[in-house]
Symmetry: C2
Subunit: 413 residues, 2 copies
């Protein structure tokens, strides 16, 4: 019987959707949380959700680093190597899972890795199951790294004339290596316009960096945020004494991030050319930072030329951006998907990846073959066949195309 593990169902590439009938394994009752403050780790069931872990860790002055905009399960985050806005400082889920308990398709329970700081004892099964999207086994329990929760936070908004100017400023910011820099996000003009409408606010409709410095002392976060503002001015940021653009703290900072997280709901409300019911195409790629301004500018222009909106929000310091494209009707759907294909081709051409943090699921299978090549996918499929020879774990996902090719080759032999 095919088995498809499911976390909170927040994934956007369809990883948890069963394609070959069978059972869906709902992990929501694997909900135990144990915090070990001295070791700075949390041991959690796979069904525990991000916000529940956040609350439990906060009681010990600790936090889990990766922070997607939605509220996924930790098992789901591990399965897709999810990340979000704080990867700039803490890395992705991949870098924050010390060890896991995994149930293999044969029913063995293994601990993927010994929970020590370093180990050099053969194949790294922890990193293998991370990002495997439930195709190699079921994640039951995770041991996670925690960090001291920053108690001082200062943010700022930096509007620029162009995405290229904003990106150049980000390169300078990274070189300045401000010790407390935590988040560095970019919203394009259409994202600002859409969130202005949703939250009834009046941010200047320009490409805008959303920054946050976080640490143990306000004088440090204010110093670094002020340094960021100075750098931004030197890179042409259009800051003209507008109070909304000053350093923000407390509730004002919270509402800044509410705006950023609001991009997706705002895209659902975006008014299109027709009155038809609207859907939103969500996609993401990640490219080397040097290529980012060029790839973003070409992508925006392409969607515009296709008569589509492109609400773009980027984890820009990681080279990662999301496009949210509202569409209605078959013609706009076709145009949106065609422009997405060109965006993905552009990312591959720039040395990038076809999925920065959303996984492969159903949506990006064919693109993975373009990114990695047949030999790489062949190795992936050979591992899949070795560990799940009957193909029962989340069938039809991730490396399905390569699997089919290998099955055909085996049948010919």
């Amino acid at each position: 019987v095919p088995l498809t593990p499911r976390g909170a169902g927040t994934g956007v590439e369809g990883g948890a959707i069963p394609l070959r009938r069978g059972l869906v394994l709902d992990s929501s009752r694997l909900d135990g949380i144990t915090i070990l403050p001295a070791e700075r780790v949390a041991i959690v069931g796979a069904g525990v959700r991000k916000l529940d872990l956040k609350r439990a860790a906060a009681r010990h002055g600790l936090c889990f680093g990766p922070d997607p905009s939605s509220n996924p399960s930790l098992g789901g985050m591990a399965s897709t190597s999810a990340s979000g806005m704080t990867t700039l400082r803490y890395g992705t889920t991949r870098e924050n899972v010390v060890s896991m308990r995994v149930v293999t398709p044969q029913g063995d329970v293994i601990r993927t890795r010994t929970a020590v700081r370093k180990s050099s004892t053969g194949l790294e099964l922890n990193q293998l199951y991370l990002g495997a999207e439930g195709t190699l086994g079921v994640i039951a329990e995770l041991t996670l790294r925690l960090f001291p929760e920053p108690t001082a936070r200062t943010g700022c908004l930096l509007p620029f004339a162009s995405v290229a100017d904003a990106a150049a400023c980000v390169v300078a910011l990274l070189q300045a290596a401000l010790p407390t820099l935590l988040r560095c996000e970019l919203l394009n003009t259409e994202a600002i316009t859409a969130t202005n409408a949703m939250f009834a606010q009046q941010l200047p409709p320009r490409p805008t960096l959303f920054l946050e410095c976080a640490g143990a002392e306000l004088r440090h976060t204010r110093r670094d945020a002020a340094a960021a503002v100075a750098l931004a001015r030197a890179h042409g940021a259009e800051i003209q004494g507008d109070t909304a653009l000053q350093l923000t703290e407390g509730d004002a900072l919270e509402s800044l991030w509410e705006t950023r997280r609001g991009c997706y709901p705002a895209s659902l409300r975006a008014v299109g050319a027709t009155a038809a019911p609207r859907k939103v195409l969500i996609t993401d790629v990640c490219v080397p930072l040097a290529a980012l301004p060029r790839v973003i500018a070409a992508t925006e222009a392409d969607f515009l030329a296709s008569k589509l909106q492109c609400i773009l929000c980027a984890h820009i310091a990681d080279g990662n951006f999301h496009c949210l494209v509202p569409y209605a009707g078959a013609l706009e759907a076709a145009a949106a998907h065609a422009a997405e294909e060109r965006m993905i081709a552009r990312a591959i051409e720039a040395g990038g990846t076809v999925s920065g943090e959303h996984g492969v699921g159903m949506g990006k299978i064919a693109h993975c073959l373009c990114e990695h090549g047949a030999a790489h996918l062949g190795v992936q499929a050979a591992i899949k066949h070795a560990l799940d020879p009957r193909g029962l774990m989340n069938p039809g996902k991730v490396y399905h195309v390569a699997q089919q090719q290998q099955q055909a080759a085996r049948a010919r032999m």
Copy 2:
């Protein structure tokens, strides 16, 4: 024809020794180094050695993080996930390889991972080949992360009455999160005595922490080193105005690390009870930091009770320690290996790993089975069989025992 890849031959667990005849593939002519300063990466051939990369990166004000005491090849470091003294700040080799070019046993050349900051596109082959010790393919080229090279350095020596006192101080140091702390090493009394003899110096013969703070400004490294000294005094460090124990910089700091790196040659010179030619047993384990004082104390006492010297040097902030045990003759050899077995059992019992940074090679195959269990090793061996079905890559290594069990099971079917 079996093929055993070989880097610089500095490994201590025998990973590069061919056990089934065949060819040894010497990587030393894969010696190209390209530094991309803007992206902060180096692209190197697998045969490039640590010190050559260090020199090339330094010309751009950059450095490669991991720093083993010997001068291994980068391909070898990747194959065993080597680390060293600076893992406290930079992580192991595993965390510093962005991507690799690997030649599979079938002769395909794959790029293990797209060289972007984050990617979520299926199985993590980069982390799979890292630490595989040449059993799954040949590493040809590596793309490595670089960091700005610290230009200001301040060190100190902190002698304690006992290893337990030193370990308690390290826990406090880690909690203080001094921003510039780079290295934190422990030498036991016998290591101090042996290096005193070798370098004709007079450090107090006590368990001693060797610390280094490194950053962009001396006022920061001096501030942090002074804070470390204050913390050490509060934890009973025996600092009595001895000039050798003050903050050290420049040449004095270099000679401090020469002493630390000298532990191995010093152990070769250590005078034993007999005049017979002496060898040195080298072994390492890594345990959770909380268990470290207990495991180190029990291990020292055990070697002593076995009438052996135990020159112990620890990457103590990682929970990782090495024992260098000089011995001569069959009786001492047997006693040394028996005490090593008990040390390894102690590490496993404490939730630790049987090899912190030396790999598995020939020396730790059986112990990996104890650490990970049969199901984990079974998954490893299944992957090995899937990717190298004829068993030609570095045969007899890493998971050889599990492979034999699976071969027997397949033969029975």
